[in-house]
């Protein structure tokens, strides 16, 4: 199926530092998403993004979080500053239309020490 790429696959940082997670979505997709999965728990929606704007966000999408996709490059999730509870696997997804099939990347495992 369509491929979503995520860079890096793992990231270890100290609490309080900034981190940027990168996503290369499917080329013709217009909607982009971030989900968070803590070990052993279900995937939780963070945010979706369309036409340069955040469309929806959950309560997990704290003020320290931001997303952007400058000029069709990577779709990024930035956390500044990080907290211990941000440790999780973050999955990027994309879809052609909202409410359409969402395709997920392999995830970035973030460890905050």
């Amino acid at each position: 199926g369509p491929k979503v790429l995520q860079i890096p696959s793992h990231q270890i940082i100290d609490m309080g530092q900034m981190v940027t997670l990168n996503c290369d979505p499917v080329s013709n997709h217009l909607y982009f998403y971030w989900y968070k999965q803590i070990l052993g728990q279900q995937m939780e929606f963070l945010v979706n993004f369309y036409n340069g704007k955040v469309m929806e966000k959950s309560k997990l999408f704290k003020d320290q979080f931001s997303v952007e996709r400058p000029d069709g490059s990577y779709f990024t999730l930035k956390i500044q500053p990080t907290a211990l509870e941000d440790s999780a696997v973050y999955f990027c997804a994309s879809s052609f239309m909202g409410g359409d099939e969402q395709y997920f990347g392999p995830g970035t495992r973030l460890t905050v020490l």
């Binding site: 929806e56 999955f91 909202g98 409410g99 099939e101």
Partner: protein, 113 residues
């Protein structure tokens, strides 16, 4: 509040048997139900999906049965193979939830040869 529930949490079947994974949901506005297959260390892969206007969707060995009245659905995997061993997530989307997927906690399937 858990919007999507899955049972059982884990299931073991013999090769060649039919595995049945169950899912139920709370929000009657949900109208799109994808199932994702996830192998360890990988992102969830879209396996098969159904819309609420249908009561059955088949793709090879994978079939979704959907009961709108009871807000339940199930994934049947016929002629199970060891390569089907993975975690399966039921998800739901639609209505007032916009384009964000609500996931169940997953069901770990083991197919023994």
């Amino acid at each position: 509040q858990q919007q999507v529930r899955q049972s059982p949490q884990s299931l073991t079947v013999w090769e060649g048997e039919t595995a049945i994974l169950n899912c139920s949901y709370e929000n009657s506005a949900f109208d799109y139900f994808p199932w994702y297959q996830q192998f360890p260390g990988e992102g969830p892969a879209l396996l098969i999906a159904i819309r609420s206007v249908s009561d059955k969707k088949e793709d090879g060995r994978f079939t979704i049965f959907f009961n709108k009245r009871e807000k339940k659905l199930s994934l049947h995997i016929t002629d199970s193979q060891p390569g089907d061993s993975a975690t399966y997530f039921c998800a739901a989307l639609g209505g007032g939830t916009g384009s964000k997927l609500s996931f169940g906690k997953g069901a770990k399937l083991t197919v023994s040869p």
